[in-house]
Symmetry: C2
Subunit: 255 residues, 2 copies
């Protein structure tokens, strides 16, 4: 019945081409290989270039192809599983080679939506810590972490006023708070220009936006808005207290 | 310093236009309103139609606009938070109006990646339960749930051989197993033709693919591959044992 249902659905031409191309990628191409140019590909599959382009866009969405300026279209490696921690000791970076690197800290206004989550006035400046996350030597996510001054009252005024050193001081103070819980949302977004640069993407590239609220007994202590590359990342979430598989196991299974 | 950094990044023309358009959506348009046609919009903002189209695509990725055949481009309502449960009693549907509706059940081969997660031979047929999830009366996700026959040994052979009734029998047997844990991954994908139809999207539309492994003491009992509309959904994840906010609260905050 599954099959019958599928056949009764009208498939656009690019969708059929996508399936054919996907099989060709499996059988005829290696990871990292550069695809023939669009004109040659369109001729090979007997389709218009517009149709070909739509199919290539689909395959890019699915992480099968990467398009890079000056290189062309290449066959993408399998996506990397990136654990979105539900642990409680994550201010100062994750486990192993998975650390978030603090790169900057400023005082700035939070976007209205973030201010609403923090319960602060949107005109009130908050600490904004910028961090970059790398996996296997490649930047996979860029984050802005918003912390109201009231969350870190012990922060020393004589510390560095900005930059990575300041970021570490703020994170250290957050760590001392004692985290009671967190919740998250994941949605589709497009890369802002500054994030795109960090992630080696063009502005507007599809990204997965992970918004996390961190709670202490007193309420929301901080909000993180992290932008993950959607082309190379698969976000993984473990269950409470049970059986989260390691990233290595997932990579092995994916390959 | 955040500002300086931003300014030093070269922004493509469509990106700048996207920002301008986004502000215009906030100030000049109401949710559900139909945008002027592309020619008029391009003229109004003094840009080429190709540039306009790129900017509209960005806004669609971000969930600000919806494009529907026969209707045109409309201003999208805020995304709906959809809780991706970490609870243990979810076989038979979620809480309140959030139920997964079982619509079909067949015996079929699992895709190779799913078979690997289940630890089964990919030539061995498994139960495939198809479910649809609706929120506020709209289908937001379509799921295929793969269950090896060995996970549900008590399943009665005299039950209905397929269809929604059969699906409920399989889910009931799964429920009896006692779930020990689960883990999940979220990644970007494009809607398959059958899912697209259920979700009222075109094949290939961006979707969020949530893959869940359900564990019992004996190992992986089932694997779910659920396709969520990326345009209208924000997936929410609560923390273990603490403070998950309800969907209603999130909706209120988003509006």
């Amino acid at each position: 019945m599954g099959t019958t249902q599928l056949e009764s659905v009208q498939e656009p031409k690019y969708w059929h081409l996508k399936t054919v191309l996907s099989e060709a990628l499996d059988s005829d191409f290696a990871v990292g290989e550069i695809l023939p140019n669009e004109r040659d590909l369109a001729a090979r599959f007997g389709v218009a270039r517009a149709t070909l382009r739509q199919a290539l866009e689909q395959l890019e969405l699915e992480g099968r192809l990467q398009r890079r300026r000056g290189v062309g279209t290449t066959v993408a490696p399998p996506r990397v599983g990136v654990a979105v921690s539900t642990g409680r000791r994550e201010w100062t970076g994750g486990v192993g080679g998975e650390a978030w690197q603090p790169v900057d800290c400023t005082m700035d206004r939070a976007p209205a939506a973030v201010a609403a989550m923090l319960g602060t006035d949107s005109t009130e400046p908050v600490h904004v810590v910028r961090r970059i996350r790398a996996t296997h030597g490649q930047a996979v996510a860029a984050e802005l972490l918003y912390i109201p001054a009231s969350s870190v009252p012990e922060l020393s005024a004589i510390d560095a006023p900005a930059g990575a050193v300041r970021a570490r001081s703020v994170l250290r103070e957050l760590h001392r708070l004692g985290l009671e819980g967190q919740d998250r949302s994941v949605e589709l977004g497009s890369a802002r220009a500054d994030d795109a640069k960090e992630l080696d993407r063009l502005p507007g590239a599809p990204v997965l936006v992970v918004t996390t609220r961190y709670f202490t007994a007193d309420g929301t202590a901080a909000v993180s808005v992290a932008t993950y590359r959607a082309d190379t990342c698969r976000l993984t979430f473990g269950d409470s207290g049970a059986l989260e598989i390691s990233e290595e196991e997932q990579d092995r299974q994916a390959s």
